[in-house]
Structure formats: C-alpha cells, structure tokens
C-alpha cells in the first residue's frame, strides 16, 4: 500500500465497508463464509450497454467503470496505467465522448452507451484506425493503444478530416511513452483519409 497518502480504494473501503469488516473479522466463521458475509452489503446491480450488448452485473459499490469492464465483463482491452485519471490508458467512448473509465463510477455509466477498444471492430474487420495503427507502427508496447484508439475514434466521429493540430489536441489526455507520437498522427491521418474515401464511395454508390 502507498506509504504516503490515501488511495481511492482505501477511502471507499473505509467509508463503505469498515463497520462490516470490523464485525465480520470478529465472528468465528470459515474464511470463505466470512468473506461472503461482507460482499452482499456492498454489491449493487448495474445495467450497462457495452459495445452494443446489454449487460447486467453485480459489482461492489465503489467499482469504477474500468473495474467493471476488466473484472466483471472480461473486456481487458481497456488498460489501467495509473488508476487516477492521469494517463488515459483506460479511455473508453461514453455516448460518443472519450471518457476516463478509471475515474468514472460504474453506476454513472448506467443508461449510457459504452464503446471500448473491443467494440471498434465490426463484422467487416478491424476499424480503419486499428488497421492504420498496425500499418504505421503506431503501437509499440501497445499498452496506451486502446485508450488512444478510443480518443481518436471519438475525434473521427466529430470531424472526418482532422488536422495534425486537432489530432494532437484530441490525444493530449493519452500518454504514450514509446512512440514520440509521430507514428500515431500518421496512423490517424491515414485512417481518416481511408474513411473519407470509403464514405465517398458509399455515397456515389447510392
């Protein structure tokens, strides 16, 4: 545990659970039973719309959207880099807006549309951005990539031909430690161009 200062998990634990834990640790019960005794009081049922799927999950009250995605839904594409909203690796798209899932309480996502990196691809294959990131070497270690893709995908929903400056601004909340960002800009630009061409072709077909 952090020797200096309080973690979010600690605060929520102390705030929400401390009396229950104090009680449970004094009762003579099997370990598993003791643990289960704590859990129900802290559980809430949340209905989420994730990548188009309607899901109902029971999670501890203090769970963030990121914890729900990774631990309850098995959607491990979204990453935890700092757990306090600094790095952007946990970015998902909430109602079209890039959102830091590690500082979003899961209950706040109820009734909204959540898109994660796993939801960007469709039956026709990877999203143009996903393909472009691969082609341009925009993912080195790949740990920031899911968050960056979500920020970039939200940008391309807003503007079909972003400038390099607009891309920089859209990605300013996502830290990448490998690339120096250059290849990421190249990838976003090329994906935008491909999407424009495809939209044009779709339009002329109609």
């Amino acid at each position: 545990m952090a020797p200096s200062g309080l973690s979010r998990a600690k605060l929520t634990y102390d705030g929400a659970w401390a009396p229950l834990v104090g009680f449970s640790s004094t009762v003579a019960a099997p370990r598993l039973a003791g643990h289960l005794f704590i859990m129900p009081a802290a559980i809430q049922i949340v209905r989420l719309n994730v990548n188009g799927d309607l899901r109902e999950i029971g999670v501890p009250m203090h769970f963030t959207l990121l914890e729900a995605l990774r631990y309850e839904l098995g959607l491990t594409g979204s990453k935890q880099g700092c757990d306090k909203g600094d790095c952007g690796a946990c970015t998902v798209i909430l109602d079209g807006r890039p959102t830091l899932s590690c500082i979003t309480p899961v209950c706040e996502a109820e009734g909204h549309s959540v898109i994660t990196v796993e939801g960007l691809a469709d039956v026709d294959g990877p999203h143009a951005l996903q393909d472009a990131f691969d082609l341009h070497g925009a993912a080195q270690c790949g740990f920031c990539t899911p968050g960056i893709l979500c920020s970039a995908a939200a940008l391309l929903e807003q503007t079909t031909s972003p400038s390099r400056t607009e891309i920089k601004e859209a990605l300013a909340g996502n830290l990448c430690r490998c690339t120096g960002y250059s290849k990421i800009y190249d990838a976003v630009m090329s994906a935008a161009q491909r999407l424009q061409v495809e939209a044009h072709l779709d339009g002329s077909r109609r």
Binding site: S4, K79, G81, K84, D86, C87, C176
Partner: protein, 808 residues
Amino acid sequence: MISGPHKSKSDLKLIGTPMRKIEGLDKSTGRAVYTDDIVLPGMLHGKILRSPHPHARIVSIDVSEAEKLEGVHAVITGGDIPTKYGIIPWTADEYPLCTDRVRYIGDGVAAVAAMDEDLAIRALELIRVEYEELPAFLDPYESLAADGSTPYVHEPRKEGGNGNVTKQVQLEFGEVDELMAESDVIVEGKYFFEGSTHTPIEPHCAIGLWDGVGKLTVWSATQVPHYLHRELARVLELDPARVRVLQPLVGGAFGGKSEPFDLEFCVAKLSMLAARPVKILYTREEVFYAHRGRHPFHMKYQMGCTKDGKLTSVNAELLLDGGAYASFGLVTTYYAGQLLCAPYSMPAYRFDSTRLYTNKPACGPKRGHGSVQPRFAFEIQIDKLSEKVGLDPFEFRRRNFIGSNTRTVNELRITSNGFLECLESVERASRWRRKFRRLPFGQGVGVAGSTYISGTNYPIYPNDMPQSGVQMQIDRSGRVSVFSGASEIGQGCDSMVAYVAAEELGVPLEYVRVLRGDTDFTPVDLGAYSSRVTFMLGNAAIDAASKLREMVQKAVAEEWEVEAKEVLLVGGMAMWASDTERQMPIREAFNLAESRFGTLGATGWYNTPKDVHGEYRGGTIGASPAYSFTAHVAEVEVDVETGVVEVEKIWIAHDCGRALNPVLVEGQMEGSAYMGFGEALMEEQIFKSSEQGRAGLHNAPSLLDYRIPTSLDTPELESLIVESIDPEGPYGAKEAGEGPLHPSIPAIANAIYDAIGVRVDRLPFSPPNMWRAIEGAREAGTLVKPSIPDGSQVVPGAPHAGTISSGS
C-alpha cells in the same frame, strides 16, 4: 553459429522493407494479453506494506491482526525469504522484503495475499511495524563524507571502509595531464543531470502459481525472464528445472523492468503458503518507488584541443547518486566513463567515477544506461571547444571523427561507423548553415552526437554459453514456428525473428508463428537490455533458418537434379535460379525436405566475440560486438522573460547498420528522441527535504505531477536512417533503441546557447532553472546572440556564460 551474412539489398526480399508487426493487430484490437489481463481460477490479490521512513531499523513486526482478518490467506515478512538478491551476482544487496532495516521510503517490509485487493489493503493496515529511525543520507556528497558515526546505508565490505560507496572506478588512458597542459584551448565545466524515471504505462505486475508439489510458475511483466528464472530458484531455494517464468506482452519497460523486483518473489512465496495463485499489481506510486531509473550525476569535465580543433585530452570526474541498492550500479559506474570514447578520437582520457548509496529508491538502467548523463556534459564541452577555436560545431566533430575499423583510446573495437553520414544528414535536413548563429535572438539550433553499444560481449553472470538462441520448426502446412525466448517490450523483436524466418525460408510473413515468452519451451535469450536483442537474436534466427533452408534446398535440388545453391526460396515458392519458371509451392518443398531428412527443426544461436576488449580491469565493460552512432539537430525558441523553452523540431540521424524494418527503426528513433526531450525539459525524479515535508519522500509519484511529454508538448521529430552495414550484425544491423536518445539533451542545450548565449549546465531546462540562468547572464551582460564562427583559429575572449572557466 554464423556471423552477419553480407547480402546486398537486391538479394533481400523482405528485410529492409516496411512490414507490419506480427502482434500489431492484437495490440490495436485489445486482444493482446498483458500480465494484469490474466485471471486464474481462485486467484488471490497481494499487496506489499512499504516503509514510511527513509532509513530505519525494524524493531518488530506484528502481523497477527492481519492474519486474523477473514479472507486473508497468507502474510509474509522478510524472515520468510531471508536471501539477498540482485541482478549483478557480486552486488546482491536486497531482500525480497526487508529483514532488519529499511533504506528508502517505499522499501517493502511485509506482504499479504487476500481474497481481493481491497481486503489486502485492509490487512496491510492491521500490520504493526515498530521502527527505530536512523539518520538518512539524501545527498551523495553527504554519503561520500560519511565517517561511520551514523549507520551507513549498507555495511562496509571492508572494515573501516565507507559503506555508502557502491563502486569507484578510476581509469586512465594516454598522457592525460601532459597533453592537457600542451593544449591550445582548455574548457572546464560542471554539470548536473537530474534523475528521471521510466514510467512505462503498464505498472509492474506478477502472478505466482505454486502447484503444491514442487513446481513454481511465475508470470511477470519483466524484461529479463531468464535472470528472473535464476533468481527465483536461488532465492526461494527451488530446483531451477521446476521453475517456469512466463512473460506476457510487456507494456513498456525502458530499463525499468530489467531486474527482479520484490513483487515477483512475494507472489511466489505467498502462493506457496496460500496454495492459491496470487497476483500483485503495483500502484503507479509503487512504480515510482521501484524506480531503477536514471542516476542523478554530478560531473566535472576538463577537455583540451589544439587551435585547429583536434581533441587532445579529456578528464572527467563523475559522482553518481545511486539510491538505496546496487541494482546495475557496478555497470553504470563503468559505463559512465567507458562509453564516451567514440565517435570522437581522443589521445588521452581519464575518468574517476564513484557511485554512492543514498536513502532513496534505487537507480539503475534507463534507456541509454550510464552514458546519457555524461554525454550531456561531453557534447556541451565539444560545443564550447568549437566556439573557442572558431569552428562550426559540425566541422569540429568531423575533424575528430574516430573512423571505422579502429579501436578507441580505451581499446573498444569499432567496426562499422556511419557517424559522418549522420552528421551530414542532419546538417542538410535542418538547413543548419542558414540557421546556426543566424536566427534572430531567442531562436537557435544545436547539434550533438553519440554512440551506443549493440549488446555487451560479456553476460551478467560469467558463462560461455550463447547469449541468444532460437529454435525453428517447419510444419507440413508450410507454417514455420519460431520458439524465441526474447523479450517483446514493444520494440518488435518477435516480429524481427519472423522477418528473418520469412526472408530465409521464402514463406509469406503470415506463415510464421512466433511462440514466445515461456522458459519452459524457448531457448535462453538473456533479455531486453543493453540494446542487444536485434543483433544477437537476429543472428541466432539467421543461424537456425539457414540450417533449415539448406535442408529444403538440398531436397528440392535432388528432386530437380540441380545444384542446391541454385534453388531459391522466395515468395512462397521454391524456384530454380537458372530458370525461374521451374518452381513448386514452398509447402511441397518443405514436404520433400521432411521426406528426405525427417521432422524439420533446427536450433540457432549467437555468442559474442570474447577477444576484443581492453586488457585491464574493467576492460570488458563497454565491449560490444558493434556500436551505433547518432547525430541530432534541435531547433528551439527561448522566451527570456519567462524562461520557457519551446523545442520546435528535432532531426534524428541514426546509423543502425541496416534497418531490418524501417518503420520499427524510425519508431525507436522517434521514441528515443522524445524520451530525451522529456528529460531535457520536464522530468525530475526528486525527493523532499525535511524543510519541504517528509525528508526522502518522493516529490510527485504520479503521472500528473511527474511531468512526461504529452502530444502537445512533444516537438516535431524527423527520422533520418543511416545504414553502415555492420560486418557482424544480422544483415548488417546494429541497435536503434537507445543510441538515439543521447544527443537530444545536449543538442537542445547547445541550441539554447545559440538562441540566447546562455549555457545551461543542469537539467531540466524548466522555466525556473532557465529563468535563473537567464537572470545570471542578464546581470553579467552575456544575454546576447553568440557570434558567427570566423574560421579555424582561437578566438580570444569569445563570450561564454555560465560555468566555463577557460585555461591556456
């Protein structure tokens, strides 16, 4: 084993072309699996209790209340794993958990495994540790001056010695004092390089799984699975044949995961006690405590040259602030001096390098290990000398070029050397001649050069076995499987072996499968450190693939009744060189070979030359099979009212031998330059003094407060690849992952001087530091654009600000 086939570009089909990475799409679709993505049935979560004191004796630890908490399955303290570990076998000085003394705020003292992370945190709070606080050493000069009246950070190795000294190295080559005295120009300077840390976006994570009857499996986000394997077995007293280390994809490392850490021993031990799998994921704060980043360096340089700009003598004094443990410090202490002897020729060189222990998180290897700090000072010194003799700094560097196929003053063997081409490349691309000393006041350009190793000739523990091995097998479907123990940390080594297999065996890239990251089935590769992987693993892969290729060629040749060497394997086909219409699909060729030779598999390996180093104590450290070379130009704008430095652009020219995949090489060059830029302008791994709060506490252990460059901060980066085709590298390749970091920092410093006439001698060039330097220059009347060099002669009284005191 083979050594660098000298194929020309026209002989190569895939190598040298832009290619995708084999795991690229997995990474961009969220399918890629990292350690924290793994969940095992029944898995517990572990947490480590850390010291709140920088230096203290552990009087007692009471874990009884934690053990009573429902859902807690195991609690351990230092006494449960009482064996020291360390990456360098001679300097093992860390316990997995402290036994009797804590040495920095964040040192681990106990660990728990519980049903979930929250419960584990709760359990830590129930552990009672009684400490007896000791005076802490937070400044390396205080460590150096210690007389034993208070306990040293570590016990002295010799009675009466200073236990705060990790290592001292003094080496001298040539007639340093004589040549210095004869120099026409001498420039002296003091420099300070602030510490910085890696901050990979993935925090360290490990999972331990004890099978209950003697086999331990550990998953870890490590750069060195082989060394982890060895240390786990040794420290936990297990048979190494029954220890298995798996390395999922690693979410960035940069040297920060290149040795074992407390969490790996703790998950193993906790799993052994709890009979359940146990995961520990560091918080971001813990990553800052684990550190092993750039050592703060206090440096003094004295350098001389002749009036026509030839270096004569170099004299360096280096003090390294090492933090609480040795880590790679023995090597760092040597590298700080040994790796400065190219790309410039110097007739005489002396360095005195001392690493001190302090009560702060341990420093270690960060990208460009050991030489980034002295290179910062060295290249500013070169800039000062150039100005004193009235030469353009490019011309000065050219005049001192060491050349190829030569030895450095400290006897390192240089083979290929593309440094002149690097200089030419950045000079042209940056339009240097129109800009240097000619831009308006406040704007400037600076140049710097550097060199780096492509791995080290000697492994960390002495042995004569290969440094890298690969196994390949061919399937009847046409698929090639490569078993590689190399560490994929984002640099692309898994893809690199696939490129080699595809090139040598003529199969499409999609036919190559790389099976990796598991000590149970991959041959040993020593790890992703010292820029060794492309050079060593690449050669090992060529070795294995060529053995298979020869079998396939022979089988096809017999079928066609032609010479084996006339059978080409290319583009998914086997074909006859004399008549390429005569061909068969590669799968048929593979099937023929399997019929002829039996099941198709081969191992390949690479070992370093052991006969090319200096015959002196330490002469093997810094010896590498090949050296990369780099030159940067940085363009800056400085606001003298606010002290804000804007780096507009960095041009990066790097001699990587041969770019096996130019996309990945550019990625390494840009990522390196970016990281150097961050250290130059923003990053500071610093600790509070007692006046600022708790002495020894990390000042800002978060990614918000420890400032690394965002997309908006990072300058434009332009990569210029230079290929010198190394005689021993795989297809001529050398390293690209660390060398291109070095010149960023001094190039920016030299550009600041060109912009406003102020020498910056300490990192970072942040507004407060800059403002102080600017105010000093304003008072001294030196806040002016430096003058244009007027040719090859000594300029008496050329304007210098800052720390220079010139002799002769």
